[in-house]
């Protein structure tokens, strides 16, 4: 298989990557773009640790191939803080004590970000649904819900 050139926006900056079209996006981001906040927990789209935003939609990047992101805008956790200032969600995760081991945190914050982008004041039920694809084994999710509430000003 030959490598192809793909163009996309990563955390606000244009990127051109030369890669195999069937390389998984999780691997492309981690290996070629230094975005190691994108975690792999299962490789089958079940745990949500590799969640990224593609044009503001949360996607499990272990199930996506490099060839599919041509022209897209990708957000990883590295790109969420702006000029060193934390996003409200990041600050709320700190404040609420929503981080334990931290392995699910990048995907969890990004799924929450996608929710708040489309629904700035979600109900608890909407928060649950939006995060239902992100597994956490440490926190019992409760402080994560609280963090999203805090960030939403609920």
């Amino acid at each position: 298989m030959d490598k192809i050139k793909i163009n996309f926006t990563l955390n606000g900056a244009p990127v051109t990557a030369e890669t195999y079209p069937n390389k998984r996006v999780v691997d492309l981001l981690r290996e070629d773009c230094e975005c190691t906040s994108v975690k792999e927990g299962c490789g089958e789209g079940e745990c949500g640790a590799c969640t990224i935003l593609v044009n503001d939609i949360p996607v499990t990047s272990c199930l996506m191939l490099a060839g599919q992101i041509e022209g897209d805008s990708i957000l990883t956790l590295e790109g969420l803080a702006k000029d060193g200032e934390l996003d409200k969600l990041q600050a709320a995760f700190l404040e609420a004590g929503a981080v334990q081991c931290g392995y699910c945190t990048p995907g969890m914050i990004l799924s929450a970000k996608a929710l708040l982008l489309r629904n700035p004041h979600p109900t608890r039920e909407e928060i649950r649904r939006a995060l239902s694809g992100n597994l956490c084994r440490c926190t019992g999710y409760t402080k994560i819900f609280r963090a999203v509430d805090m960030a939403a000003g609920n």
């Binding site: 906040s37 079940e46 995760f93 981080v99």
Partner: protein, 747 residues
């Protein structure tokens, strides 16, 4: 009591590791990259019990990009590892004992090439008859997995005259309970990198015990301990599943053989297949009481399957035996237990070391007893609760830090407030637990180094691995409290064996208590010099000095004071250094080999959960609605972190009761991935009401005890009993899947 006047502890702080985790900067082992790095893989057995007749890696070696293949013959040092007993080969030499035993290693230029090389390896086995059950294992003439007996451990605990006591009982409850094999499902699969530099092998690993890993790697490599460095990377959950050696020894072998850095990242399936599991147990219990509800006698027989290797099995059996009568004052106790080796997946540590399993048994018995006597379940427990001065079945007399009754009352009060109505098909259940903090009757020390620097900032070095539970934050808070500085003044370096002293395992809810005590002792030592220098400057006896809020002042006259900055300038002037090295080993005694008499733990934590559940009687689905959980933690070091442990534990308890079970057949796990082994998601979470009960004693740092495992345990019997009470039927086997619940409903 002066120690209650705390400046720092008992509040809430932002965890030391949290900032880097929310900005995506934290490095886990799989995130590491070195120049010229190779990727390792492990060729594993597909059969449970066999001798290897032929192994051929020639095709793999012929693949361009494959650097090395290693087998047991290439191990420079010893080829047996294990936390308590050295019974597991790094690479199989004599025979295969389980599906997934490591037979050979490969290092290649890419992960894909390593994978391809594994597929090209060929093996032929002479199959041996496998053993999968307790009965098979104990049968005369059965094939032996290790040595000449499949009995891994046998324990007997006895106090009082059990038979005579049963004869005096008005009511006797009997039940046989079964809990299944479970897996941790930490979200980060095991991973690591090793490299060799200047004669030192460094292993960067996802681990709960860097100092143990160092010893195992050193022995495997035939090197002195100080030629091996194990650095714990951020660790994505452990729950006991990252206490055994995973990739560490394999990485060291490959890095040493190739002279290049090597990385291994396990797939989810490989991680689940070979990491230790929760011991499946069968518990047969007989509980006797007077008509007033006073417990007179408890008899329990416990069977456990530790699988192919011991791992933490010896700890699990002793903990199960010591705790299986529950947190009650029972004058007559007899417990027997057998754990066997089989060719099943290895069982070891999993949050609670057997205590979650036995809690299903003792609380199932208490629930049935309360019903038989028509007593309020909380009142029954208060009547029998352990208190300061209670003598345990091991003969130990409890100290003053026994907050069980306080936890029972606090839980009852909160439940009365939040569970106001119980509708049809709903049920309320109570679950209680006690948990000895630290290893069972064994030495388990930890140490800490501290230095107060010239600007009054502090370097604290602890061996204790922070796996997200927040131990580094705990140690910083304890140091800040003891030194009279602020939380932000303390920098913690954790679990790097070239820098930090022995920390022991981040397991058994021991680190707050043991490394916390070590930290406090180290700080007190540094404070000795600081206090002497301050006393000379302030011209007051050093015994009068108080260190608080970055000031040093006289307790007799607070106007006589100096700032920490002034003190450090004085220290410099007189050439004094503020350093401390503390070590702590809990005051326990070995348990008698025949009777298990002794002091198994220095302190015990207590927990009480009250659950409200609803059962859909048309589908059998159980919905956990509310969980009130009160925990005696001695002294909360950080309230939000304690709450986080309780909430995480309660949701894990839901998984234990309602969904989770490793399905295995002929030694092979059939559901090693998240799509087949379901754990709770956001959709399952009930309302959780964590309650912190503080009943401090003299033993812990500022009175603190552990909470990591206690946070899980009482939720399990509480949910189980709530389902029983909702349906008016008893359940003796977990999990309570819809199918199992429907069977009971229809029976």
């Amino acid at each position: 009591m002066a120690l209650r006047d705390l400046a720092i502890l008992g509040k809430s702080n932002i965890k030391k590791d949290a900032y880097n985790k929310v900005i995506g900067e934290t490095k886990f082992a799989a995130d590491l990259k070195f120049d010229h790095m190779l990727y390792g893989g492990v060729f594993r057995s597909s059969v449970p019990h066999a001798v290897i007749k032929r192994f051929d890696a020639s095709k793999a070696l012929a693949l361009p990009g494959v650097a090395r293949v290693l087998t047991s013959k290439d191990i420079p040092g010893g080829n047996r590892i294990g936390i308590i007993m050295k019974d597991e080969p790094v690479l199989v030499d004599d025979k295969v004992r389980r599906v997934g035993d490591a037979i050979a290693l490969v290092a290649a230029e890419t992960p894909e090439l390593a994978e391809e090389a594994l597929e090209l390896m060929e093996v032929e086995y002479d199959l041996l008859e496998p053993v999968f059950t307790y009965e098979d294992a104990m049968r005369e003439g059965s094939p032996k997995i290790h040595g000449d007996s499949n009995l891994h451990a046998r324990k007997h605990l006895e106090r009082g005259d059990v038979d005579a006591a049963f004869a005096r009982c008005d009511v006797i409850i009997e039940g046989t309970y079964t809990t299944n094999m479970l897996t941790h499902m930490f979200i980060e699969p095991d991973a690591g990198v090793a490299r060799v530099e200047d004669g030192i092998i460094t292993v960067y690993a996802s681990t709960q015990n860097a100092h143990f890993d160092r010893g195992e790697v050193a022995r495997t490599m035939g090197l002195p301990n100080n030629k091996v460095r194990v650095t714990q990377m951020a660790t994505g959950g452990g729950f006991g599943g990252k206490l055994d050696i995973s990739v560490q020894c394999h990485l060291a072998l490959l890095a040493n053989a190739t002279g290049r850095p090597v990385k291994i990242v396990r797939s989810r399936q490989e991680s689940t297949d070979v990491s230790a599991k929760r011991h499946p147990m069968i518990m047969r219990a007989k509980t006797g009481a007077t008509k007033d509800g006073k417990l007179l006698a408890v008899e329990v027989f416990i069977i456990g399957d530790t699988g192919a290797y011991a791992s933490y099995g010896p700890a699990v059996i002793t903990r199960a035996v010591v705790h299986c009568m529950g947190p009650y004052d029972v004058p007559n106790v007899r417990v027997d237990s057998d754990f066997v080796y089989t060719n099943n997946p290895m069982a070891g540590a999993f949050r609670g070391f057997g205590v979650p399993q036995v809690s299903v048994c003792h609380e199932g018995q208490m629930n049935a007893l309360a019903k038989a006597l028509n007593m309020d379940p909380i009142d029954l427990r208060i009547l029998n609760a352990q208190k300061p001065g209670t003598v345990l079945a091991t003969g130990q007399t409890l100290d003053e830090s026994v907050g069980f009754i306080g936890a029972l009352r606090a839980a009852k009060e909160k439940a009365a407030e939040v569970i106001t109505t119980v509708k049809e098909n709903q049920g309320v259940g109570v679950g209680c637990m006690w948990y000895g903090v630290g290893n069972t009757g064994l030495p388990n020390p930890a140490a800490a180094f501290v230095e107060v620097l010239p600007d009054a900032s502090v370097n604290l070095m602890v061996g204790c691995a922070d796996i997200g539970q927040g131990s580094s934050t705990v140690m910083a808070l304890i140091a800040a409290e003891e030194l009279g500085l602020s939380y932000d003044d303390i920098h913690v370096t954790a679990a790097d064996t070239m820098v930090t002293p022995e920390g022991g395992a981040s397991s058994a809810s021991r680190q707050t208590f043991i490394s916390g005590n070590a930290t406090r002792i180290a700080c007190r030592q540094a404070k000795e010099t600081l206090a002497q220098t301050a006393a000379n400057f302030l011209k007051v006896p050093k015994e009068y000095l108080i260190f608080r809020g970055r000031m040093i002042y006289s307790a007799k006259d607070p106007a006589i004071k100096m700032t920490y900055a002034e003190l450090m300038a004085e220290m410099k002037k007189w050439g004094q250094l503020a350093v401390g090295a503390g070590a702590y080993n809990p005051k326990t005694t070995y348990l008698d080999a025949k009777t298990m008499a002794g002091i198994p733990y220095e302190v015990y934590s207590y927990g009480v959960t009250i659950a409200l559940v609803e059962v859909d009687t048309s589908t059998g689905e159980v919905d956990t609605l509310k969980l009130v959980s009160a925990h005696d933690v001695g002294q909360a070091i950080d309230r939000v972190m304690v709450e986080g442990q309780i909430e995480g534990g309660m949701v894990m308890a839901q998984g234990f009761v309602i969904f989770e079970k490793i399905e295995h057949e002929k030694g092979k796990i059939k559901n090693p991935v998240f799509s087949k082994y379901l754990i709770p998601t956001t959709m399952d979470v009930p309302e959780i009401y964590p309650i912190i009960v503080e009943c401090p004693g003299e033993a812990g740092p500022f009175g603190a005890k552990g909470v990591g495992e206690p946070a899980l345990i009482p939720g399990i019997p509480a949910i189980t009993n709530a389902v029983e009470n909702a349906l008016g039927r008893r359940f003796f086997e977990l999990p309570l899947t819809p199918a199992e619940v429907m069977k009971k409903i229809l029976s």
